[in-house]
């Protein structure tokens, strides 16, 4: 095996230099030699050069072939390791001088010479200033190792593999393919019993859980049992602020402040002092994202603590057990035809929206601070 004592360098004969431009006939000889060695299997770009030179240097071609053959034989007279070294160096020389397609040439030569190599370069102060700025910014940028990001991608794919409708069949059947909308009915917003896939999806991350409104409901049930619903309530309120109309923003901001942030508020959330200070100051001039910092903080609190407790809780375990696992459909072509004919327009979105609003009203009423006087009078009347 070849071992060098120290890293070997290119021999001076093959050093790139402006003085000796690499001649076409030299290149032709090299290509002919390579042709002999590779028994006609040149790289495509080399073959293209070869054909071109065969045409243009046709008058010299006999000489080129003769010289190539002689050089080949002379090269064989060297000891094998030296021959390898020579071949490598020659190859490197020609890759630099005649670079393959779509590679950047290391030589800056010819008419497009950008730098005059014989002049002394005086770098001006402004260039240094810019260089410093560039390097400072480059250092400050947060970097992620590709191994880390690829690992994350890998993990994501592994987790979501079975839930992707392109990669895994959706149960019971894909409505777009079979014209049977059981899948949609089973995965509606307001549902007693969700499907198993849906429930599994909630366990992936808090974000998934909260994005699915049915999951959010389940989470709310759990939180009520734990008496720690104010974090989620604040988060929802912040979402409403973000997505709401511009006119309602000031009023919403006020309500949120009174309910969650004011000292001694009924549903006071526990966020750190700095964020609280920033948020309260921002509320003087409320805008859509004034609660962004606090919302993120609350989200992180829930994610790090409550979420995992939820996954281990009896609430979640029960819903997992109850969840449906529909059988996959197996329609014959005739049945598919029938399905196609019996397509229905589905539930009107207005109805769904009305249902949503009714639910929200109920929830608001349930969580409203208890009016003691009214309660007492009710009890009195009952008596």
């Amino acid at each position: 095996m070849l071992t060098f004592q120290s890293k070997p360098f290119q021999t001076p004969y093959f050093w790139p230099t402006q003085k000796w431009v690499a001649e076409d006939s030299d290149y032709a000889i090299y290509l002919a030699k390579r042709n002999i060695r590779k028994k006609g299997m040149l790289e495509p770009y080399e073959q293209a050069h070869y054909n071109h030179l065969h045409e243009w240097l046709n008058h010299k071609w006999d000489f080129i072939v003769m010289q190539a053959t002689e050089q080949y034989k002379a090269g064989k007279e060297r000891k094998k390791p030296d021959r390898v070294v020579f071949d490598c160096q020659e190859r490197a020389y020609w890759i630099v001088n005649k670079p393959p397609r779509r590679t950047h040439s290391a030589m800056d030569s010819g008419l497009e010479l950008l730098i005059d190599p014989n002049s002394d370069e005086k770098i001006p102060f402004d260039t240094y200033r810019r260089m410093n700025l560039f390097y400072q910014q480059a250092i400050m940028r947060s970097k992620v190792k590709s191994s880390v990001s690829l690992g994350a991608l890998n993990k994501y794919v592994a987790t979501y593999k079975n839930h992707d409708p392109f990669l895994a069949p959706c149960l019971p059947s894909n409505p777009w393919l079979t014209d049977n909308d059981t899948y949609w009915t089973l995965n509606m917003r307001q549902l007693e019993v969700p499907t198993k896939m849906r429930v599994e999806r909630w366990s992936f991350s808090l974000f998934e859980l909260l994005s699915d409104l049915r999951g959010r409901d389940d989470f709310k049930i759990f939180l009520k049992k734990e008496f720690s619903g104010e974090n989620l309530a604040f988060w929802e309120a912040a979402e409403e602020l973000k997505w709401g109309t511009a006119s309602s923003m000031t009023s919403k901001a006020e309500t949120i402040f009174k309910t969650f942030l004011a000292p001694g508020a009924p549903r006071w959330i526990n966020i750190d002092g700095r964020t609280m200070g920033l948020t309260v100051k921002g509320l003087d001039h409320p805008h859509r994202y004034v609660l962004e910092a606090a919302q993120t903080h609350v989200f992180l609190l829930m994610k790090k603590d409550t979420f995992f407790r939820y996954l281990k809780s009896p609430v979640y375990k029960e819903i997992q057990k109850k969840a449906l696992n529909p059988e996959p459909h197996n329609f014959s072509p005739g049945q598919l035809e029938q399905n196609a004919q019996n397509r229905s327009p589905g539930i009107h979105p207005l109805i769904l929206w009305q249902q949503d609003e009714a639910e929200k009203a109920k929830a608001a009423a349930a969580s409203a601070p208890v009016d003691v006087k009214a309660l007492m009078s009710k009890l009195d009347r009952k008596k």
Partner: protein, 251 residues
């Protein structure tokens, strides 16, 4: 008429022999110059030394002898041939027998001419490079050896030198002339080149190759089994064979 025919046949036969001599000399020149290149490649490397430089001198003296002889003979050949023969002469010659026509004769000589001039130019550029490198790495003093570059070459030029020694030029025994040093050698060759180009007008582009593209592949007998492993050896050291940006770290 008969005597003229006999004379022209005789002339053609002589020219044929002379051409053969030139062809053999051309081959010898090719061998010597390629060996010279192999030696020149080691200049400035750790294999450089007085032995190498002596061998290089020997090699180029031999090349010089061949060049001088070839240039003289070719000049004679092409000046004797005269400019392209007129149609009248041509017909006369071809009427008289199966001897090759003057035009063909001329074409072959021109081909040799072009080959020699190409070889001369090629050798000259190698000589100039060698001159430059010797100037950069003079080995006149002991500690000059420190400037030599480690190219990973072990000494292997002995066999190359032997190859040079095996070359036989047809007129070596006859002529014994001065062996110039490198500078004068280059000057002499440059002068030879320009003289030849001025004396005989030859249209380079009218010469055609006798070999088809790719014909050289089949020529050589049985390449040894080690050939493919040579590429593997080259690949094995440095990872990817063809870097996306070409830098000189192929080895």
């Amino acid at each position: 008429m008969t005597s003229r025919w006999r004379r022209s046949v005789g002339e053609l036969a002589l020219r044929g022999r002379q051409r053969g001599e030139c062809e053999r000399a051309q081959e010898a020149l090719g061998r010597v110059t390629s060996c010279f290149q192999q030696l020149a490649v080691s200049l400035g490397s750790s294999a450089d030394g007085s032995f190498l430089r002596d061998e290089m001198d020997e090699t180029r003296h031999l090349a010089q002898r061949i060049c001088r002889g070839l240039s003289r003979r070719l000049l004679r050949l092409l000046s004797d041939c005269g400019p392209a023969p007129s149609i009248v002469e041509d017909k006369q010659v071809s009427d008289c027998g199966p001897a090759p026509s003057g035009v063909e004769d001329r074409q072959v000589s021109e081909r040799l001419w072009v080959l020699f001039l190409s070889a001369l130019e090629h050798f000259l550029s190698d000589l100039r490079k060698a001159y430059n490198l010797i100037g950069r790495f003079p080995l006149t003093q002991r500690n000059d050896r420190r400037s030599l570059v480690n190219t990973g070459c072990m000494d292997g030029v002995v066999a190359v030198a032997a190859r040079v020694a095996s070359v036989q030029a047809p007129w070596l025994t006859m002529e014994e002339e001065q062996s110039p040093d490198l500078t004068n050698h280059i000057a002499e060759l440059e002068a030879m080149l320009s003289e030849m180009q001025l004396r005989v007008p030859v249209a380079f582009w009218s010469v055609e190759a006798t070999q088809l593209a790719g014909a050289e592949c089949g020529g050589l007998e049985g390449l040894e089994e080690g050939e493919d492993s040579l590429e593997e050896l080259m690949e094995g050291e440095g990872g990817s064979r063809r870097p996306a940006c070409c830098c000189l770290t192929c080895v």
